[in-house]
Symmetry: C2
Subunit: 506 residues, 2 copies
């Protein structure tokens, strides 16, 4: 019996281990249980009402639909931006909306928590792109491209706190222009700033300013102020908040949360107040501390060169060398910039105090090397146009102006004056389409003429081609100008030419 | 001792139950264990090599980058498609790339397993859109729109088995045109087919055929053949495979997997062999069984009307009424269609036997009602152009032709004949940009003239504006035609006009 009891006790012990192990393993899967619970809760909440499931009729948090009117604005803005990019000789590329998760890992510093991951449904672990820059670097390394000037316009995704009225979304367009390759200093960098200048001018958003700084100047400043090397990036993130937060708060984050000495923080405080033009560059080149720092000296030297080129481009008056500009992302290595819209002085309307940045970018010479198996570097500099804020501003302007915007290009409505002419309308519109005329027809067998004319008024169609029994006999079409209400008979064989002439389309 | 042994035995039994229970629970979480293993394996495989993590340099499975050459083709195709959509009076909308998961639930039948879910990172459960049709229906219901003609060109996502060389991707563009609203029968439906015809003709992809059928005819056929109501959709899915799989295999799926009687299957087999034109419609309207079925009669009546309109549009010869066409998706309620490219008879090259469908669509009158709180229906009909297969074909054509495609629009390179003229080059190119000229400059302080000319040869830039010391003194620029190598001096103030004239840009 003692042996039996001992054997049982041993079996019990072994089983207890198994239970412990299984329970431990299961602890790691609590997350799954939570997800299941959430799903069940959701299912219960939605329920089934009179046989039809109730849906939440909304787009995901931080996203929006673009209706035809918004799209009309969006396409106008895109066309302005694209024509600028093309004017500067850019090619265009496109990459997938998601990347391998590891492609994005370690590129965005503190912002990495904002990356959208896809669910693991078997296969690769994927994340939605956070910007177009990291995919671009992956593309260059993967295809061993060392020299390209390209633009890329596409949506990116950030699980940020949305502020939709100010154009801050979780899904938003970026319009990126980048120059990759080993070139002489600051020539491509200056072209990127020229592009920002051209686009913001063309969009007529009001007065703007482009702030510039250099990561090397920032790092030199940190070194000079006694910030330990290990804290450079996190202190840089704090400085980056200066466009939204007062210095006092940034300082207390540096000292309180990030453990910086008060002396170092105050030293930084002195520098980040500075902004100016070429004069400030010259002044800092004489700064007894900064001028001793190799990185800062390099950065200031390049900044001087940049200002020379910007003067040749005739845009130096819109550029402000600003030591408080830091940019959030980890991958910048040299010059950085950000464009902000300035408040209109004569603005009577109540508007949000800060319009915020509408373009930004900089130099990132190390990013492609992070992807290359041999660490081969491809220097890059680029700019990203923050199109959503620009849309917001233009949308608000449009709302305010009550201006009627056409959302189609239709040149003519094919209409009938009597009943039973559907076949004739379809035959005529088919002829017009085949000749390249933009034409519509009402999808009714016997629409009233008044309704057909009203449709033109509502949608801005300028011409109506009216078929009637008499016209059919005479081989003519009555062409009506919607604005003037004038009508003339046009021989059917001349109709296409007449419509083209009247709507100024050669 | 006996009591002790009994107590131990009892404890052992209880623990055994616990182990069994825990193991059962864990069986359901095997997937998690697999995921962990996968991660660990991945981590190990990637490792860290000389301090730099090794990356898998690839795009996710089933996706691709588009380089400048591919983009040139893509933009040409898009522009053809968009101009057709606009010719038919369409507005344009855009929706987010992801939707609430529940928005997509229950819309795609057996294909729902292919939906990409996002990871639950707190907040809403999201999925990537599977097509543009369901988001469109959600948009209509959400904004209470009962009448719109719109197009939408955007990427959709399906965790399908990719076949990249045949243009089958997990991320791919759809180009959708839809007409929503209560109209007289088959007029918008006929326009959708006209659009498919116009686009496939304009893209010059070779001969094509548009197959049409109607879900009501299919359902009538199923009823007549004795398929139980509950099996309609799943049998429809089987029929849908007929474009890829032989009838024998479809039949054995129906009978074996789906439990259909052999009589019913053989009855379906007789019908799905039929295809033709208006004559077949007339024949089936006389079919003693089908003509007794209300749904089939309605479908056949509308099919007759559709053919009348297609004849007025002059495209009936490319349309085949085909009883084997089923379309995979659950939401279709009426006419359905699919365009296929036909094999060229005189094709000497080896090509894949089936080119497959390049466009498809149909009527879905119930989908918007699924989203409306009161179930209010908005009838819709639409078409989706399968752009990726078209790209594949055009890309292969381009590869084969070795034709050189320009990937930029640059009109002129600003070059210098001697050293130390960077400033002058920058000043000139800035003038050109400001005048709307598409211009580039090499990003070198002192580039060799030969290298500058070579750059033009490589990228197809037609003109070079050459600055030299003598030209500066004379107030002229030497304008060189890259193709002919002719050079002429142009007064600086006339340069813009001359470039515009030579590159045919008014």
């Amino acid at each position: 019996m003692a042996t039996e009891a001992a054997a049982l006790a041993e079996a019990l012990r072994l089983q207890a281990d198994t239970v412990r192990r299984l329970k431990q393993e299961q602890a790691g899967t609590e997350e799954v249980a939570e997800q299941v619970a959430k799903l069940l809760e959701l299912k219960g909440r939605l329920g089934v009402d009179d046989g039809r499931p109730r849906f939440l009729l909304k787009t995901p948090k931080g996203t929006r639909d673009y209706g035809p009117k918004q799209m009309a604005i969006r396409e106008k803005v895109f066309s302005t931006i694209i024509s600028c990019f093309k004017r500067h000789g850019a090619e265009v590329i496109d990459t997938p909306v998601f990347e391998l998760k590891e492609t994005l890992t370690g590129k965005y510093g503190e912002d990495s928590k904002l990356i959208y991951d896809l669910k693991d449904q078997g296969g690769e672990l994927l994340s939605l792109r956070y910007d177009l820059t990291v995919p671009f670097a992956r593309y260059l390394a993967m295809n061993k491209i060392t020299n390209i000037k390209r633009y890329h316009i596409a949506k990116v995704y950030r699980r940020d706190n949305p502020a939709m009225t100010r154009g801050r979304y979780r899904e938003f367009y970026q319009c990126d222009f980048d120059i990759a390759g080993q070139f002489d200093p600051m020539i491509p960098d200056a072209e990127c700033l020229k592009i920002v200048y051209e686009i913001l001018s063309a969009l007529q958003l009001g007065d703007f300013l482009i702030k510039v700084n250099d990561r090397r100047i920032l790092d030199g400043m940190f070194a000079v102020c006694g910030v330990p090397d290990s804290k450079f990036r996190t202190i840089c993130s704090s400085v980056d908040k200066l466009d939204k937060v007062m210095w006092e708060d940034v300082r207390s984050e540096m000292v309180g949360e990030k453990g910086l000495s008060t002396e170092a923080a105050d030293c930084i405080g002195e520098y980040v107040r500075l902004h100016g033009g070429l004069d400030l560059v010259e002044q800092l080149l004489q700064d007894p501390e900064l001028s001793q720092n190799k990185l800062a000296r390099e950065g200031l030297g390049d900044m001087k060169l940049l200002f020379e080129y910007l003067m040749l481009f005739g845009i130096a008056d819109k550029i402000s060398f600003d030591l408080s500009l830091a940019r959030g992302l980890d991958y910048y290595t040299g010059v950085i910039y950000e464009a902000v819209l300035l408040q209109q002085q004569n603005d009577h309307e109540e508007e949000p105090a800060t319009v915020g940045s509408v373009a930004g970018g900089g130099r990132y010479d190390g990013l492609v090397g992070m992807f290359d198996p041999k660490g081969k570097k491809v220097p890059c500099v680029g700019v990203s146009i923050g199109i959503e804020r620009i849309f917001s501003i233009l949308e608000q302007k449009m709302e305010a102006s009550k201006e009627k915007i056409r959302t189609t290009d239709t040149q003519v409505l094919v209409a009938s004056a009597q009943k039973k002419l559907l076949e004739e309308r379809l035959k005529l519109i088919s002829e017009l389409w085949d000749s390249g005329i933009k034409a519509e027809v009402l999808y009714k067998k016997n629409p009233k003429l008044l309704n057909q004319l009203q449709y033109c008024e509502d949608t801005g169609i300028p011409l109506v081609a009216i078929i009637g029994e008499q016209e059919l006999k005479d081989g003519v079409i009555k062409l009506r100008d919607v604005a003037t209400r004038e009508e003339v008979d046009i021989r059917r064989e001349n109709l296409v030419e007449e419509i083209k002439k009247r709507t100024c389309q050669p």
